[in-house]
């Protein structure tokens, strides 16, 4: 019986609310939804919760969080994680929310790029500036090579055995993959714009040793163009201090950090306004009933992209989400200061 069911139906996880984005606003939404007895699953493309706060500025002080005169991005993330812990949120990290569709019974079904399937009556898009994706060199025609001979990540090292690889970048990703792939590759050339590397000093020392042993080529230059055909790279054009030259290779791995793109959210049939999702200011619901958008990704007249705005939006969203998740139940608004039932949920009473 079971094995005749489609695989995706078998593996779908049912929950109350699916939250896309585990940044500060997504985390606080777990808290507000939790107070109203709703359980959450969160999906994030990063390998950790915290969104921009954890990825872009973990060490930078933030000064406009109410009640916290100064807090770093990482500290704020840690505090929010602690605050929502009583509600046991489930995280699905390192994956991108890819497909969203209605199920026959009126719920929402979300699928990620690595095959996680979640079902819930409510979806909350708290995706900030969109998904963090690798920066791509602004070289015309690069798309034709992507996935064939130009890559921005290494999924399987074996794929690169025997290849003649150019690795571009000067951070930890570039250096780590240079060191890891060197034994497998036919030849590796590391290309970086200056003869200084911000990667971990130990990796830099190991890289320099490989260069000294003649096992690795180092080019102080920038990628200026690609040569090849039908998606197969034959050379990269490099621009160095002494001019422009071609370097033969069959693979380019480019590591220039991450940038934010709206991504698959744009294909879900929601109304958009300049890459933002318009919502009402009572429930923060999108053009699709049961799909909400809170935090930097939403738009309404007077919108301010502040973390505190997202917190407010999360609280109001939760009121309406309750009506979808628990139809027929009466919503009783209570304060954490006085309600023993809320305090029990928080584990303090």
């Amino acid at each position: 019986m079971m094995d005749c069911m489609p695989k995706d139906v078998m593996t779908a996880v049912s929950t109350d609310v699916i939250i896309i984005g585990a940044g500060p606003v997504g985390l606080f939404a777990v808290f507000e939804l939790g107070l109203l007895d709703m359980k959450c699953h969160l999906v994030d493309i990063l390998d950790k919760p915290g969104g921009q706060c954890a990825e872009l500025y973990p060490e930078k002080p933030i000064y406009d969080i109410p009640g916290l005169p100064v807090v770093t991005g990482q500290e704020l993330t840690d505090r929010l994680l602690e605050q929502c812990r009583p509600f046991a949120p489930q995280f699905h990290l390192n994956q991108m929310a890819e497909k969203l569709e209605r199920t026959p019974d009126g719920k929402w079904r979300l699928e990620t790029d690595i095959g996680t399937v979640l079902e819930a009556p409510v979806v909350v898009i708290a995706a900030g500036g969109g998904s963090f994706v690798p920066k791509k060199p602004p070289i015309p025609g690069i798309e034709e090579y992507e996935g064939k001979s130009v890559f921005y990540a290494v999924r399987k090292m074996e794929q690169f055995r025997g290849r003649n690889i150019v690795i571009a970048g000067g951070g930890d990703s570039a250096l780590d993959w240079t060191l890891n792939l060197e034994p497998l590759a036919d030849r590796i050339a590391l290309v970086h714009r200056r003869d200084e590397f911000r990667a971990a000093p130990d990796s830099v020392n190991k890289m320099r040793a490989l260069v000294a042993d003649g096992k690795l080529d180092l080019h102080i230059a920038q990628i200026a163009g690609l040569k090849g055909q039908d998606g197969q790279l034959e050379a990269v054009t490099l621009k160095g201090p002494d001019g422009t030259y071609d370097l033969a290779c069959d693979t380019l791995l480019a590591f220039y950090g991450l940038t934010m793109k709206l991504g698959p959210v744009a294909n879900w049939g929601l109304n958009l306004h300049e890459n933002l999702i318009p919502v009402d200011t009572e429930k923060f619901e999108t053009s699709e009933p049961g799909i909400f958008a809170i935090g930097d990704i939403n738009w309404y007249p007077g919108k301010l992209k502040l973390i505190l705005s997202g917190f407010h939006e999360a609280a109001l969203m939760a009121q309406q989400a309750f009506r979808y998740v628990k139809p027929g139940e009466k919503l009783r608004f209570q304060y954490t200061t006085s309600s023993t039932s809320l305090q029990k949920k928080l584990g303090v009473a």
């Binding site: 921009q52 872009l56 500025y57 200056r194 911000r198 920038q222 220039y256």
Partner: protein, 107 residues
């Protein structure tokens, strides 16, 4: 009067925009406030390199030297030149009245 201060920003299509500049603002903030396409994803924390600009050669020497943090971050920008700067690290002062910069290509 701050009304008198201007900077000129050339966008990626080559169109020049003369913008009102405010003392103490980051050049990135001035560009963003006028609605020109600059991502500035990290909001001025010198953590993303998406506010990369080329500074007109005549103005280059009038800017303070980039700190190590800015030079490191430029590693995540593309087509970096000797006149590349992150505009979030340039604070506008009256001495920079007339500054000219060009938006760099986006990755």
């Amino acid at each position: 009067m701050s009304d008198d201060y201007k900077i000129t920003v050339t966008d990626r299509e080559g169109v020049e925009h003369v913008l009102d500049a405010i003392e103490g603002w980051r050049v990135m903030e001035i560009i963003r406030d006028h609605g020109l396409p600059i991502k500035a994803e990290c909001g001025g924390a010198c953590a993303c390199a998406t506010c990369h600009v080329y500074v007109d050669e005549a103005w280059l020497k009038k800017l303070h030297e980039p700190r190590d943090e800015e030079i490191d971050m430029l590693d995540e920008a593309f087509l970096v030149e000797d006149n590349s700067r992150l505009s979030c690290q340039i604070i506008f002062t009256p001495e920079l009245n007339g500054l000219r910069v060009t938006l760099a290509p986006e990755g």
